[in-house]
């Protein structure tokens, strides 16, 4: 049992290490996220102008509010989001500000979801807290200047974030599995595009074009691809390379959904992006391996290979200093 546990721990360490990102790139991501939250804030104030009768909070913490909060409270919430986003951008009290930003975004979203429908933006709200754990405040931050420690990112925290994202995507795939998307006779994607077309033929740039495709095989493959793209990540997350590939596949899918159904999921880029903030050496593994190979075969000048000493000079004159030795000494 002990051996099994230590084996599992080693495996987690190995996967976590493969998820480790470049702290500077992560810091740039932090700044971009903070600016996005500042410049394109989600509007949490509109509920304040609606009649109380419209308020119907879903099961959960929003039920603590039996009325729509007054407009000034919602304005204060919006202001607090802006303030924490500013702190996150500057990297000041980054960890506390990031957690506060997550809490404020969840409360704000809860307000706007209390009119009958829960939306799927929870992952965006969780990004600041998750990335604070990964270490997005370590570099290019006022905190980093004050502390002066070497910036490091936690691969394990990003691995955990991957599991959260993969599970969230699985929760989108599972209801589809249960409601006919697998059935070869039922064309689900075709149905939703046709519905959008019936509502408004030009609702999205490619809605009407898609309706010209008359191939059951094409539509069914699209359904199955959707299920696969959303569902397999719960397994792929344990293989960082595959997981990144899965996220790239899914990104093309989000673009497709936008172009055919007009559903804008661009916020999801903030959920996926951290997985691609790899150190430069990991971006081009083949190129790096090739460079190492070339370096290992390159002859090294003799005078650089040997220390400048009598012993070395005698070794050289005796013809014992070979290229192989030179390579080994470097």
């Amino acid at each position: 049992m002990k051996r099994l546990l230590s084996g599992a721990a080693r495996q987690v360490d190995r996967v976590s290490d493969a998820y480790r990102v470049n702290p500077t790139a992560l810091a740039v991501f932090r700044i971009v996220f903070g600016l996005h939250a500042l410049v394109y804030p989600r509007d949490f104030t509109w509920p304040g102008t609606m009649p109380q009768e419209f308020w119907t909070p879903p099961l959960g913490p929003m039920m603590l509010f039996d009325h729509i909060p007054p407009l000034w409270v919602l304005l204060a919430l919006q202001g607090a989001v802006a303030l924490t986003a500013l702190l996150v951008t500057a990297g000041l009290k980054t960890r506390s500000a990031s957690f506060a930003l997550t809490v404020l975004l969840i409360i704000g979203n809860g307000m706007t979801y209390s009119f009958g429908k829960i939306d799927h933006t929870i992952l965006y709200s969780l990004v600041p807290a998750a990335m604070a754990l990964v270490g997005w405040g370590a570099a290019l931050s006022l905190d980093g200047l004050r502390v002066g420690k070497e910036a490091k990112a936690s691969g394990f925290a990003l691995f955990a974030w991957g599991i959260v994202a993969a599970f969230a995507l699985w929760t989108a795939a599972y209801p589809k599995l249960r409601s006919g998307w697998l059935d070869p006779q039922r064309e689900a994607t075709h149905g939703y595009i046709a519905r959008e077309f019936a509502r408004e033929p030009n609702a999205a740039p490619f809605t009407d074009f898609m309706m010209t495709i008359d191939s059951s095989a094409f539509w069914k493959l699209l359904d199955w691809f959707t299920l696969f793209a959303e569902g397999w990540l719960v397994v792929a997350v344990f293989f960082p390379g595959l997981f990144r590939l899965g996220l790239l596949l899914l990104s093309t899918f989000h673009v497709g959904v936008y172009l055919t159904l007009g559903i804008d999921f661009s916020f999801i880029a903030f959920v996926y992006a951290p997985f691609f903030l790899l150190p430069p050496r990991l971006w081009f593994p083949l190129h790096n391996a090739f460079s190492r190979h070339v370096r290992s075969r390159r002859p090294v000048p003799l005078k650089r290979r040997l220390p400048d000493s009598d012993e070395a000079r005698s070794a050289s004159s005796a013809g014992r200093a070979t290229y192989g030795h030179g390579h080994q000494s470097h």
């Binding site: 509109w46 609606m50 009649p51 009119f115 929760t171 409601s179 149905g191 519905r195 899918f253």
Partner: protein, 117 residues
């Protein structure tokens, strides 16, 4: 990723609800409005659920004075170039089916709720 919902039937039919409303006046032609127009300012995903809940069968919800004031205000704001006061809001749900091959909507009758403004 949105969860969407159930797949269409194997015969290619897919249920579809069309929502619209007509604002009536004492001495002007009615004006047709969509959920997007009536609930302008709402988050887009909250429009249809609120439409169904707030404008549905009065048995589901007692519209109070504040809600009625809000509806009157919206109806007036949507009465562009009409001087008379809105009198009624006739809310319509067409529960129909579409044919997924061509997006054709099957004819269906409108289920109506009338709200005195």
């Amino acid at each position: 990723m949105p969860g969407f919902g159930a797949a269409p039937e194997a015969d290619g039919s897919f249920s579809f609800v069309v929502r619209s409303a007509e604002i009536h006046y004492a001495d002007a032609d009615p004006v047709t409005v969509t959920p997007e127009q009536l609930f302008e300012g709402f988050a887009s995903n909250q429009m249809n659920p609120t439409w169904d809940r707030v404008l549905g069968d009065p048995g589901d919800l007692e519209r109070d004075a504040e809600a009625m004031d809000w509806l009157r205000e919206r109806a007036t704001a949507l009465s562009v170039n009409i001087t008379s006061v809105p009198t009624d809001l006739s809310v319509c749900w067409i529960d129909t089916e579409i044919e997924i091959d061509d997006g054709a909507v099957a004819p269906a009758t409108c289920e109506t709720t009338d709200i005195k403004l």
